[in-house]
Symmetry: C3
Subunit: 105 residues, 3 copies
């Protein structure tokens, strides 16, 4: 089972977090979508902020470790971390993803 994990993050932190997750083999790839504007409810009020979106490709097996790492890197008290499962994908991509997450020490 593979996952696309969606995480919203302040634009100035997006690149560093993306690079860290791939470097530590918690993700095979991360796309950073910039120029996003977010509207949300916080402490009863409607708030707005510029944000970036991370689209993180990983496996279900790696997810708990990935979630904990994002939690530790993310500046928000409650970061938005949402995992969407995909069952169909190019088989060569699935193989590549498993390989990219494998530790080579």
């Amino acid at each position: 089972m593979s996952l696309v994990v969606m995480v919203t993050i302040p634009p100035e932190r997006a690149h560093d977090v993306a690079r860290t997750l791939v470097t530590e083999r918690l993700a095979g790839s991360v796309n950073v979508v910039g120029g996003m504007h977010s509207v949300y409810r916080w402490q009863g009020e409607v708030a707005e902020d510029p944000e970036s979106l991370l689209l993180i490709k990983t496996t279900g097996e790696r997810y708990p470790e990935l979630e904990a790492r994002i939690r530790s890197l993310h500046p928000y008290e409650v970061p938005e971390i949402i995992a969407l499962q995909f069952d169909r994908a190019l088989p060569e991509f699935q193989s590549w993803l498993r390989d990219a997450l494998q530790d080579r020490r």
Copy 2:
């Protein structure tokens, strides 16, 4: 069960609809992705337009009301409203989402 609802919309309407959905507690948060270009089939022809994408976070419970509201706010005859289910998410985010959708009257 929680949902990410994807809606494409003319750029000039995106912010107002996003703010309305959060204000009316039909969504906990909405990300507006701008600068998108869409290609689609309409009345047999291939058409193209600039659009924005709304990524709307809500619950399955609130979905019918959300869908009806988007329908009433949206300028298209057939708006693209697609709901993706997520089962894994940061637990604190799930709690926050339920809370953000709760009426406090």
Copy 3:
């Protein structure tokens, strides 16, 4: 069963591929998200590139043909092709999608 298929692609190829897929009735609509930056692992190293994201709306039935066509159009050795299933959507949108994929020869 309907799908949102996510494909990352070099920005200069995004529009042509999007238009081809709609013209050939392999997709009802394709959104091109530009200005994306990607971090990924390739041949053991961490690499980075600007990319665009295609969000392709199709049916499960059409998916095998769509995947094969993307494979033939895409410049990468291993393109990222990921299909997310959606069960809830505006019913009129679902009808439109089925219609847009139907051959009228």
